[in-house]
Each structure stands twice: as structure tokens, then as C-alpha cells.
């Protein structure tokens, strides 16, 4: 169904218009795609996991009846789990290759690493002081402490939820290695960690990265990959200074996000936030019912 030819100029190849701000790349395409796979499968896992966890609520039964019974829910949950597992393994393989085999710098240590360091502790305390009006706002590096927390929470969650999930799926096999009580524990672990992930992502992560006044209604950077120079300077002053000092400006230059990408991101992001908030409300009602 190819569309009749468009005559507009191709946005991708367009040079930045004179006077417009420069854009810098914060997330590579791989990172953005990984985030897309992650949030898509996460929404799928949450949407199928919650009805199983809160199966006595009326909406869980409605949902099960609507999609063709518990078998369909379980099938879809496992399907999403497998896709997410593959994405996770690809990510781990890549970090391992780049960090250990190719010995790229900045993967495990330094300002560009996801690994926590002393500055993160100071940033956290400084941020809290700023919240209370007791100090200036800390200057964040490439990854702020809450972003590192997001990353490691998901990393840890993936291992924990994944392992416990597969242990339930293939219980007779896992029983060869695990003690009896562990077969009981995996459900507790899977459902509590899953609940934590759902509550955290659909409340804290949504608010921190998308819904707080600075970014409202949505921080597009994970969708577009780029940030304007002003924004970059304002949000990550240390990284901006470091980049300038190291003369890496050129290599980080990106293009302004094309309109289609902004629109597309808005639609996808809004749908994801909407589904997430719906699931959050359902979870909280079921939990406190």
C-alpha cells in the first residue's frame, strides 16, 4: 500500500536551519529500540500478570472472558516473557562484549557508566536538600542517580522475575536444583517483585521522567534520542561541560527530531501512559479491596 509520492524535502537529511538550536544525542537508536521492546512487553506482562495476581477481582474475570479464557492470558504472558528475555540477553551480551572483550571505556566506571558511584550518593542527598530549600540543585552527569536506579531496578527485576517465572513454568525441571520451599518462594518472589515493578514504573517512573512539571506531559528524549542544547545544558550541566572540554561536541551532534517522530512518540507514549495508569488504578483498587 505505498502512498503516492510526497514532494516535501526529506527531513532526515536536512541540515539544521540557521538560528535554530543544536541538538545532541542522548540515546542511541539501539537504546531507544531496547526501551520500546521493554515497555511494550512490560505492558503486555503487566496486563496479563495482574489479572492472574488479582484473579478474584471482577475486572480480572471480565478480562479473562474477553480474551478467550485463562489459557490465552497465560499464553500471552509467556510469549511476552520470552521476547523480553531475548532482549535482555542481547543487552547483557552487548554490555559484556563492549565492556570486557572490546574494553570500551566508560562502560563500568566513570561519569558515563550506569554503575553507581560516590557522586550519586552526594547527588541524592543534595537533591533532597534542594527539595527542602536547603541547598542548590545538584549538577547531574550523563545518568542521574534516579536513572541509574531505574536501570538497576529493571536489571535486577528482570533476573529475579525472570528466574522465578521460569521456575514456575518449568517447575518439575527446576525442582532438580531447588529445595522444596523454593518452589513456594518463587511465586511470592515473582508476584511481589512484579507488583513492585508495576507500581514503581506506573507511578514513580512515569512521574519522575514524564509527568513532573519540568518534563510534563512527557520526556521525549527516549523516543527521539536527542535533546536541544539548552535543555541538555540545563539538565546535565556536568556532562555538557565535560563534552565541551573534551571537544566531543561534533560527534554528539544530532538532528532536530522530525515532526513525524514527535507525533509518533506522543501517540505511543500517551497510549503507554494511559494503559499503565489504568493498570495502576486497577491494581490499587484490587489491592485495597
Amino acid at each position: 500500500m505505498p502512498d503516492p509520492q510526497r514532494t516535501e524535502p526529506i527531513t532526515e537529511a536536512a541540515a539544521p536551519a540557521p538560528g535554530a538550536s543544536r541538538y545532541f544525542v542522548r540515546f542511541t537508536r539501539e537504546q531507544r529500540y531496547m526501551h520500546a521492546v521493554l515497555f511494550t512487553t512490560f505492558l503486555g506482562l503487566a496486563a496479563t500478570g495482574l489479572p492472574m495476581r488479582f484473579s478474584e477481582s471482577f475486572w480480572a474475570r471480565k478480562f479473562a472472558a474477553g480474551v478467550g479464557g485463562f489459557g490465552a492470558i497465560l499464553f500471552f504472558h509467556k510469549l511476552c516473557a520470552v521476547v523480553l528475555s531475548i532482549a535482555f540477553l542481547i543487552h547483557v551480551k552487548e554490555v559484556f562484549q563492549r565492556g570486557l572483550l572490546r574494553r570500551e571505556k566508560g562502560i563500568f566506571w566513570g561519569p558515563t557508566s550506569m554503575v553507581g558511584n560516590w557522586k550519586d550518593v552526594k547527588d541524592l542527598l543534595g537533591h533532597m536538600r534542594w527539595f527542602l530549600g536547603l541547598g542548590a540543585k545538584p549538577q547531574f552527569e550523563r545518568y542521574a542517580y534516579w536513572e541509574k536506579f531505574d536501570y538497576w531496578a529493571v536489571f535486577w527485576g528482570m533476573i529475579v522475575i525472570g528466574f522465578s517465572g521460569y521456575a514456575m513454568w518449568f517447575a518439575p525441571f527446576f525442582a532438580h536444583f531447588l529445595p522444596g520451599w523454593a518452589l513456594n518462594a518463587v511465586l511470592v518472589i515473582h508476584s511481589d517483585e512484579g507488583l513492585l515493578a508495576i507500581l514503581f514504573i506506573f507511578s514513580i517512573h512515569f512521574v519522575n521522567t514524564h509527568l513532573r512539571p519540568d518534563t510534563f506531559p512527557m520526556d521525549m528524549v527516549i523516543f527521539t534520542g536527542v535533546e536541544s542544547e539548552e535543555e541538555f545544558q540545563h539538565k546535565r550541566p556536568l556532562e555538557y561541560q565535560r563534552m565541551m572540554k573534551e571537544g566531543k561536541t561534533e560527534s554528539r551532534l544530532g538532528i532536530a527530531p522530525p515532526l513525524w517522530l514527535l507525533n509518533f512518540s506522543k501517540v505511543v507514549g500517551t497510549i503507554a501512559v494511559f494503559i499503565g495508569l489504568t493498570l495502576l488504578v486497577l491494581t490499587l483498587t484490587a489491592y485495597f479491596h
Binding site: S55, G69, F131, L183, N184, V188, I204
Partner: protein, 423 residues
């Protein structure tokens, strides 16, 4: 009609009175004919001349419009009567006080007891003892047209019994008045009621299969078929193997030992609204019933995936209580015949879990994550997970709220100087 026979004498209008009733004109015209018949009967059967024969009675009562002083019909359909179970009797066999023709104005009510002494004595000791409220005809139907109980026309033909009992017991008012549950609709929707009324299965349990017929007693009466400790035997009339199984189980032994808190058939299956046990609705309804007594086991069961998936509704195959413990001969786990005895666990779990092995059956289907002594590993895992969940969420909730407030404050103060539209 029923009240008529059992509680008040016939008051037949005299001929003189009838002559003024235009509606009974047809009967009036029959009088000469009846007299002729009477004469013939007298000449051919001289020694019984005083006692009227059926033809004499029908000469008047055969008129379908005939009524008594209170305008109740006193007509008899001779044809239908002759097909009935009493068809071979003569009118005077029951109306024994009628010796002459014409008979007196007031005649005695027919007493079924004369012939049916056993049944009458049973009824008089039953909940239906009051003869004025429960004449025989209230169950057996119109007095002159009673059919044997294997005749589909009979009110007590198996397929008609629920409707017959339902005449009174299907009324919410009567149920209310006597403090009884309104069981008729429950029965009709049950597996017994369905088999009987929809499929017309003669052997399906009807009201009297469980309650008896003439000798119905209150379920509080230890002699009653529905007295709690008699229920297994009552159900066992048909469900023989299940009764035998039940008697081998802990519940059966407890009831036999006089512990009336232990469940009998009706506690799990309900008394009237009995469902097919393979039905989704029964699987959904019955686990909580076990939980009424086994509260701790039910609460720990609800923590498992068995229960979580099972509660989704529709037909979900995950294990319910009886899938593991057996349904009727529930035995302690120490009994080698129990499916949850250690020696049987691999087989029992293996019915659903292909590849179940000795380590797999170490799984505790009733582990209590809140009990540190019984399940220490699980207890600490749960504690850790809950603390992790609570502390993470609490910390970040405070963090986020403070951030929100401070950001908004900065934003308003700086008049949105920083942060672009898509920041």
C-alpha cells in the same frame, strides 16, 4: 375439590330446589331415565336393591355442571374415574354411608384411612399431620382421578412430584410463613432437577427420594431422612459407592462418631441446588465451602498459584481441595490410602504436572509465608520482598512528591524560564 372431600359433607340440593336452577336443566331431564335404571337394577339384582350402584350415582353426578349448595362442582367423569386406580371400586366402597338412593343431604367425608391405614398413620406422625391443611388429595390429586404412581397422569409420578410438592413449596409466601427456604427453584436448577424436569430421567432424585413420602419429618428430628447424621444414608440410596467412600473418610467417621460439626453430603453439595461437580460453577463455589471449616488451609491455599489462576472463572483446571485430598474419602495425610500421603504425592501431583518427581513434590501447597517456624525460608523471602516493596515505594513516593512540589515552586518562581516544551 380437595378441601371439599376432606373437610365438609356434601350438601346436595334437593330435587325441588334443583327444579328452579336453569343451569341444571340437563340433570333434571335425566331423572326419569335414572329412575328407569334404578328399576332395572332392582329387578335384576334384587338382594342389593337398597344400595345404589355406580350407574345410579353417575345418573346425577355424571352431569359436568352439577354443583353443591356452595357452588362447588360435585360432578364426576365416570369414564376417567373408571381408568383411575380406584376405577374397579364402586362409589359406595368409599362413600360407605350412602345406603339408599336418593341419599341424605349430608354425607360423611370419605376417609382414605379405611383402606390406607399405614399411609394415614405415617402422615399423622409427619410434618403434614394436620389433615385439614394436608388432605391426601393435596398430593394425590383430585379424589376420583387418582392414578398409580408409575402412571404419567399421577400427581406422584416421579416426573410430576416436584410440581406437586411445588404447589405449596414453590410459593415464597409459604416458605416465609414456615421459616423454610424457598427451595423449589433451587431444586429445579440442580443436577437432580435438571435431569428430572429437562431430561425426564425417572431415576433422578425427586423430592420424596430424599424426604420420604407419607412420613416426612423435620430435619431436626433424629428419625428424619434429612436429619444431619442420616443424610449420607439417604444420599447413599442412590450414590452407594460415594456413601461407602464417605464412611471411610475422616468426615464420615466423625459424623458416625456423633460429631455433627463434620460435614455431610449437603454441606459441600448444598441440599437442593446441587451442581454437577465437574461444572465450572461447582469448582468455583466449593473450595470456599471447605474453607468454612479449614480456615487456615483455605487461607494458605489462596496464596498459591493454584488458587490465583483458579479464581479467574470459566473452566480453570488448577487443583481445588478435592483434586488433591480426594472428594469423599478424605483421609489424614498419614493414611497410606490418602492421595496426599508422602508415598502417593508423585502420582497425585503427576496427574496434572507431567514430570513431577520427588523433589517437585517437596512443594508445599499450604505453605504459610506468615509462619516463621513452619516455613522459615519462605517467611524470610516474603519478609524481604515486602520490605523491599514497601521501602522502595515509600522512599520514592516521598522523593517524588517533594520533587514535584519543589519543581513546581521553581517553575512558578522562574516563570517557566527553564525547560522547553519537550524537555
Amino acid at each position: 375439590m380437595a378441601r371439599l372431600f376432606a373437610t365438609r359433607p356434601f350438601v346436595i340440593r334437593r330435587f325441588a330446589a334443583r327444579a328452579f336452577a336453569p343451569r341444571q336443566f340437563a340433570a333434571r331431564r335425566l331423572v326419569p331415565f335414572a329412575l328407569v335404571l334404578l328399576f332395572l337394577a332392582w329387578t335384576s339384582n334384587a338382594h342389593a336393591a337398597q344400595k345404589p350402584v355406580d350407574a345410579d350415582c353417575l345418573a346425577c353426578h355424571g352431569d359436568a355442571t352439577m354443583t353443591d349448595g356452595a357452588s362447588h362442582s360435585i360432578a364426576v367423569d365416570g369414564q376417567k374415574f373408571s381408568q383411575s386406580t380406584h376405577g374397579s371400586l364402586e362409589c359406595t366402597s368409599c362413600h360407605a354411608d350412602i345406603k339408599t338412593y336418593p341419599h341424605p343431604d349430608k354425607i360423611a367425608p370419605v376417609d382414605c384411612k379405611t383402606c390406607h391405614a399405614d399411609q394415614a398413620s405415617s402422615v399423622s406422625g409427619s410434618v403434614h399431620a394436620s389433615a385439614s391443611d394436608h388432605p391426601c388429595t393435596s398430593c394425590h390429586g383430585v379424589a376420583h382421578y387418582i392414578f398409580p404412581k408409575d402412571d404419567p397422569r399421577s400427581n406422584v409420578y416421579p416426573l410430576n412430584v416436584p410440581k406437586t410438592c411445588g404447589t405449596c413449596h414453590g410459593s415464597p409466601d409459604l416458605a416465609k410463613k414456615h421459616g423454610l427456604p424457598n427451595v423449589y427453584p433451587l431444586y429445579m436448577d440442580s443436577i437432580h432437577g435438571f435431569a428430572l424436569s429437562k431430561e425426564g430421567l425417572l431415576v433422578a432424585a425427586n423430592c420424596q427420594s430424599c424426604h420420604g413420602s407419607h412420613n416426612i419429618l423435620s430435619r431436626t428430628n433424629p428419625q428424619s431422612m434429612t436429619y444431619k447424621s442420616n443424610i449420607p444414608k439417604t444420599c447413599g440410596t442412590c450414590h452407594a459407592k460415594i456413601e461407602a467412600d464417605y464412611e471411610q473418610g475422616v468426615h464420615g467417621k466423625a459424623v458416625a462418631g456423633g460429631n455433627l460439626n463434620a460435614p455431610v453430603c449437603s454441606d459441600c453439595h448444598t441440599a437442593h441446588a446441587i451442581l454437577q461437580p465437574t461444572e465450572s460453577a461447582f469448582r468455583m463455589q466449593s473450595t470456599p465451602i471447605c474453607g468454612n471449616c479449614h480456615k487456615d488451609k483455605f487461607s494458605t491455599y489462596r496464596d498459591t498459584f493454584h488458587s490465583q489462576l483458579g479464581s479467574l472463572g470459566g473452566y480453570v483446571e488448577t487443583a481445588r481441595c478435592w483434586d488433591c485430598h480426594g472428594a469423599h474419602d478424605v483421609r489424614p495425610a498419614s493414611d497410606p490410602a490418602s492421595p496426599v500421603n508422602k508415598a502417593n504425592l508423585v502420582a497425585t501431583c503427576g496427574r496434572c504436572h507431567a514430570g513431577a518427581n520427588l523433589s517437585f513434590v517437596q512443594y508445599q501447597p499450604h505453605a504459610n509465608a506468615r509462619d516463621r517456624k513452619l516455613s522459615p525460608g519462605l517467611y524470610y523471602v516474603r519478609l524481604f520482598m515486602n520490605l523491599l516493596l514497601a521501602s522502595t515505594l515509600t522512599f520514592f513516593l516521598i522523593h517524588t512528591i517533594l520533587w514535584l512540589i519543589r519543581s513546581r515552586y521553581s517553575q512558578v518562581k522562574n516563570k517557566s524560564a527553564n525547560g522547553g516544551k519537550n524537555a
